[in-house]
């Protein structure tokens, strides 16, 4: 279930206006134009944000995924990174909000990703409709997984499936960046740190033995 309780929502009309303007500016290759028409565009966090602050998606620029897109993102993210013995599901770690923040960001890399992610989401629905007669987020977990595997397995057989396969790769990468940037994600992948210690003793003996090296710094 998707609860649309995210902060800093804006209207779909406003979103379309922003990105149409941004696309026009991008085609002209002029960052100056972005500045001139900035009345309609979201802003970044600037060159002097308060970096020590604690932030959440939506704090710097409005989130732009609509309810249906957010629901699809949540379903797909949880299919990619489900709850299991390694850790919680992606949605429990706010991965969908991260992706919403990402595709809503006013920076070139993110705007480029937006142009891949939004059509990719639509394509997932199209493929799901064709196979099951309903949107992707309406599928059972098993159906979703099977479709995912079909796309990966047949990814080179048609331009459409290749596009879907590329999208799943890009989307998985975004999910990984979000999921593994959390304490639960750290535990899942085996990162230990970000905590003050009285001393740094180097790798444990068990790790040294596994790799076949000895500590040389005395």
């Amino acid at each position: 279930m998707t609860i649309d309780n995210r902060p800093n929502r804006i209207s779909r009309r406003e979103v379309l206006k922003w990105f149409a303007t941004a696309a026009a500016a991008s085609q002209l290759g002029s960052t100056g134009l972005l500045g001139q028409e900035s009345g309609a565009l979201p802003q970044g966090y600037g060159s002097d944000p308060k970096v020590a602050g604690i932030y959440k998606p939506g704090d710097f620029w409005p989130l732009t995924l609509d309810r249906g897109q957010h629901r699809l993102v949540t379903f797909l993210a949880d299919l990619i990174l489900p709850e299991d013995e390694y850790g919680p599901a992606a949605s429990a770690l706010r991965v969908p909000d991260f992706i919403d923040e990402w595709v809503s960001a006013p920076y070139p890399r993110q705007q480029s990703d937006r142009k891949k992610v939004l059509p990719g989401l639509a394509l997932m629905n199209e493929l799901s409709q064709k196979q099951h007669g309903k949107d992707f987020a309406e599928l059972s977990a098993r159906q979703g997984t099977t479709l995912f595997d079909d796309i990966v397995g047949k990814g080179s057989s048609s331009p459409k499936l290749k596009k879907a396969n590329d999208f799943l790769g890009d989307f998985t990468s975004l999910c990984m960046g979000a999921y593994y940037g959390t304490p639960a994600g750290w535990k899942a992948i085996g990162y230990v740190g970000n905590t003050p210690m009285a001393s740094f003793d180097g790798p444990p003996q068990a790790v040294l033995d596994l790799v076949g090296v000895v500590q040389t710094v005395k």
């Binding site: 944000p49 020590a52 990174l81 013995e85 998985t172 960046g177 500590q215």
Partner: protein
Amino acid sequence: MPTISIDQAKAEYDVIIVGSGAGGGQMAYTLTLAGLKCCMLEAGRSYDPGSETPMFNRPDQAPLGGGSTPDKDMGFWDATVDGGWEVPDEPYTQGSTDKNEQFTWWRARMMGGRTNHWGRISLRNGPYDFKPYSYDGLGFDWPISYDDVAPYYDKVEMLIGVHGTNEGMENTPDSPPGVLLPPPKARIGDLLTQKAGKKVGVPVVSIHRAVLTKRLDADTIPAKLHPGNKWAQDIVAKSMRARAACFWATPCGRGCSIKATYQSTTVHLPPALETGNLDIIADAHVREVMIGANGKATGVLFIDKTTGREERVKGKAVVLAASSGETVRILLNSKSNQFPDGIANGSGKVGKYIMDTVAMGLKGQIPALENLPAHNEDGTGGAHVYSPWWAYEAQRKGKLNFARGYHIEVPNTRRMPGGNSPVPMNYLRGLHGTKLKEEARRYYGSFVSLASRGEMIPNEHCYAEIDPVVKDKWGVPVVRWHWKWTDNELNMVMHAQKTFAEMIEAMGGTVTSKLATSGYDLIRPGGNVKHEVGGARMGDNPADSVCNHRSQTWDVKNLFLCDASSFTSNPDKNPTLTIMALSWRCADYIIEESAKGNI
């Protein structure tokens, strides 16, 4: 960091210092502790590492996981304010549209400048590095030797705190006993790299970085730094006691709120301010050095960015420590009847012979590092080991197709994940669910990235000049850069690639990318390592250098250059430690001359 407005400035200072980074910070520290009244001008805003540093902030607490954007080129938490590859309202231009002839210029607009985010790598130039022309007939000799600078390296290392080991290697100077702090333990990737290095003849040893692996000895060091000056000793001791030892967390590039690493804002400026002899004016964009009828500098003219007004501050001497490019800009823009081509430019060498560090990197995937038990490798928040250049003998025998050397930096393999996928996606393609998590855990920490940092030979095609047309927001003419690599640098990075591939193979690993066949495909663009040096080199002949061995300009006796603009060569050793050592040395000369009434 307390600042004053121009209205509060004294009518005249002993010394005006332009820039608050490594060179300016060291100058202010040394002069004010000797009793000289100084005014420092910083082009950016004030900055407080104590309250502004994002210690422990996680990717899920920052926009886009803390990743880089055009607003923050090195990521959200990077300790760079109002800067990066572009500075708002302060453009620079290129002399060529050829991508191989472009220069990338990193600037910061904040108290402490680039010392807030720097890599903390603190390597001494060796004896060959000060006499490179004598060594191999290329470039130019400095007018000083290692022995001239060594006592200042000692003092700077004791003041800022540098960890490392003495290895007795060629052209890689040892520090005197007791000066270096203990090295941090090697990480697992370090040890495997070291083992592989032995197989291919590349030594891997503890790196020198300005991080306190234990607290500085505030009871004994101040007396060594300031003999006979109890007042200075007490101030420095108090400042040292305010610094904590590293607690082995948080990357240094974010800055350090506990003052465990060197930043001008945590080490140089606090004691300088404590003397009561330092005034700092922030948001002061210096346009030119003012000159008197007697040919001496009288102060500087700057734009107060908070009001947009031109202001002037006077001093008996002027020190430029604004960074090489900015110092060149100020010198060339300081035109007068006496100096129609810019101040201190009688030789015509201002702006000439700019250098950067020669850099490339190669990544390998190492099966021996897969699926290791989870363990903490944060360490000092930067590299723990490196390879000093090792092939002097092979070079002397003519076995290499390039001159000079490079060192190898070995980063942590188990850094904090988040923002981007912690494992390259080509290792995870098509996976999902528990299998994806298992493979992520398998591969995390199994990638070794080796980075080369090498010496560039100065050449006449690399220079900075004033753009004849473009001005910044305040009407100040901007810098136009010219750049060209030579075969020496291109051959060097190809050698590094071959060496790194051998090391990765010796680890049982596989290079993750296709090997380049041209140096241009490997080498990072000019300026990209942020080590731009030169542009106002020191020498022993006024006809072909801008300043003398004391960093004093030949043409204007009370004008000194104390950033890396005075560098005659750019050894593979990172420049910051040498900037500080030369600045301290210059400061001692200013103090002597001031006492004699010559300044």
